[in-house]
């Protein structure tokens, strides 16, 4: 018996240690660092202040943050508009083809996103596939400038993150009880009505999860902006990276990261409320 309790303590203790040392403490350091001031020796100066957060809402930084949020937000919206019908088709497909269709979504999901970004470069560059095809068809005479534009960054974000939207939507759609949809239809609602008044509300947690999995990474994917957007388009991720690696301003980078964490926290709360409400309604 003594052996048992020691074994149990060992397992619980090691899990606790792992979570405290590698999750809790790093987040705490991040949080504290965001209130410090940058020192001479690349580390930090003591003395708490809100100046980093004040700097975040200064006009120059704020306009970058706003355009980054807009870019990520529109990317999330577009992923949702493209992904929802697709996930719907996927969830409705016959048991025979569904595993294969799902696997085909998961392969890009798990393929290194830098490799996928690079693949996109092959399509978009001046002598890339799209330009060559358009020129061969005689639709254009000069290659279009596709690379190093805001549009390219935008395409890159949607391309990289679309599977992150499809998979949670698919999981949510699979969980919808088909009897509810049938009941709606039996009661005389048409397809559009059952879709928007039964299916969509029942999948709200999936929609929020998908939007979160696209929006938050889209804010941070500095390499997509670098490779496809050149120096011009800046994401919050580029800003954070530059604060760390170029300006050696750790507290400023930390403050930007904390802001992102807060955004994640808000979206998580939204997710929990939505799934809780759904559960409560299901009970009634």
């Amino acid at each position: 018996m003594k052996n048992s309790s020691r074994f149990r303590q060992l397992l619980i203790g090691s899990t606790y240690t792992w979570m405290v040392v590698l999750a809790l403490i790093p987040y705490l350091i991040l949080f504290i660092a965001s209130f410090l001031l940058p020192g001479d020796d690349q580390l930090v100066q003591s003395g708490l202040s809100f100046s980093n957060y004040q700097h975040l809402i200064s006009p120059a930084v704020f306009s970058m943050a706003r355009s980054s949020i807009l870019l990520a937000g529109v990317a999330a919206l577009l992923c949702l508009l493209v992904g929802y019908p697709f996930a719907y088709i996927l969830a409705q497909s016959s048991a025979k083809v569904q595993p294969l269709m799902l696997l085909l979504v998961m392969i890009p999901f798990w393929t290194n996103s830098l490799i996928r970004t690079y693949a996109l470069v092959m399509m978009l560059k001046a002598n890339g596939v799209i330009n060559q095809v358009l020129m061969a068809l005689g639709l254009i005479e000069m290659p279009l400038q596709l690379m190093y534009t805001q549009t390219a960054v935008f395409i890159g974000l949607v391309y990289t993150l679309l599977p992150f939207m499809i998979l949670p939507l698919y999981a949510a759609l699979k969980a919808v009880d088909p009897r509810l949809v049938e009941a709606g239809r039996d009661l005389g609602a048409n397809w559009l009505n059952t879709f928007f008044r039964i299916t969509v509300p029942l999948t709200t947690p999936g929609i929020i999860a998908g939007c979160m999995l696209v929006f938050l990474p889209a804010l941070g994917m500095f390499y997509v902006a670098d490779v496809l957007g050149g120096a011009r388009s800046m994401l919050l991720g580029n800003y954070i990276r530059d604060q760390f690696l170029i300006y050696r301003n750790i507290p400023m980078g930390a403050a930007a990261s904390v802001t992102m964490t807060v955004a994640m926290g808000l979206m998580l709360l939204l997710y929990f409320f939505a799934s809780k409400r759904l559960n409560r309604e299901a009970m009634q």
Binding site: A33, N112, L162, L216, G220
Partner: protein, 255 residues
């Protein structure tokens, strides 16, 4: 939606996801350095890749870190899943919650908070820090995968073993692990691909002495690319697909 329309729509989405990857694959076998036109089949880019020592060593480093991080994450993740399923202890719900938060956290936030920890501890960045960082990334995924497998099997078996005098270590070692093995191996493979997939965490938590593939490709893409990168991308995609198909087969057994 009519049937045909559905297939056209799905086909378009797949085309969007796969066309660039297919183009890279075709280029990797095309016997021409710059032109898009087909100049005949060749394996010379693969041969070049084999002799490109910096690219190969970065690729091997990536596989090494993926293997080690997956093993560490599988160990910690399985233990976390086991205690959450088996024991009632203070903070159990909190553990659940924090694993979920970790899973949803943007990579850049995980990367930076760990970088700050390593800086605070004055640890030089390299293999050990990257290993820990990737394991941190993977643990929640292993824990949830294995936990859902535990949910599938009956408690009676564990109770029976205990009635017959097994202590908790024996229950873990001789009943839980064998029953959960497919999920454990599946979790390992998921972690392996997760680690190979990562760019951002690697970017912040490794040093110049230990370069991994995504970072190597990152600097190459900015400086101009040679066709052997195409070959390398195809090889990496192949490894990802094999790991993914294996893990899905293993995880499916429970259904």
């Amino acid at each position: 939606m009519s049937r045909r329309l559905k297939w056209i729509y799905a086909g378009l989405v797949y085309a969007f996801l796969y066309l660039p990857l297919v183009v890279v694959a075709i280029f990797s076998f095309n016997d021409s350095k710059y032109s898009l036109a087909w100049h005949g089949f060749t394996l010379r880019w693969y041969e070049k890749l084999w002799h490109n020592s910096s690219l190969m060593s970065a690729a091997l480093n990536s596989l090494l870190i993926a293997g080690c991080a997956a093993t560490l994450a599988t160990l910690m993740g399985t233990v976390a899943a086991f205690i959450m399923h088996q024991y009632r202890f203070p903070g159990r719900k909190l553990l659940f919650g924090s694993l979920f938060v970790m899973m949803m956290s943007p990579d850049i936030v995980i990367a930076i908070s760990l970088l700050l920890l390593f800086l605070a501890l004055h640890l030089p960045l390299g293999f050990p820090t990257l290993l820990v960082a990737h394991a941190v990334l993977c643990v929640p995924f292993v824990a949830t995968t294995v936990y859902s497998r535990f949910h599938g099997f009956q408690r009676d078996i564990l109770d029976a073993a205990k009635d017959l005098g097994a202590d908790e270590y024996q229950v873990f070692r001789f009943i839980v692990i064998p029953l959960a093995l497919p999920a454990v191996v599946g979790g390992w493979l998921l972690s392996f691909t997760l680690s190979l997939d990562d760019v951002i965490i690697s970017f912040f938590t490794t040093g110049p002495d230990f370069e991994v593939l995504p970072l190597r490709i990152y600097s190459m893409v900015r400086l101009g690319i040679k066709p052997d990168v195409n070959a390398l991308c195809v090889v990496m995609m192949g490894i990802t697909i094999v790991a993914l198909v294996l893990s899905r087969t293993l995880l499916k057994e429970k259904e």
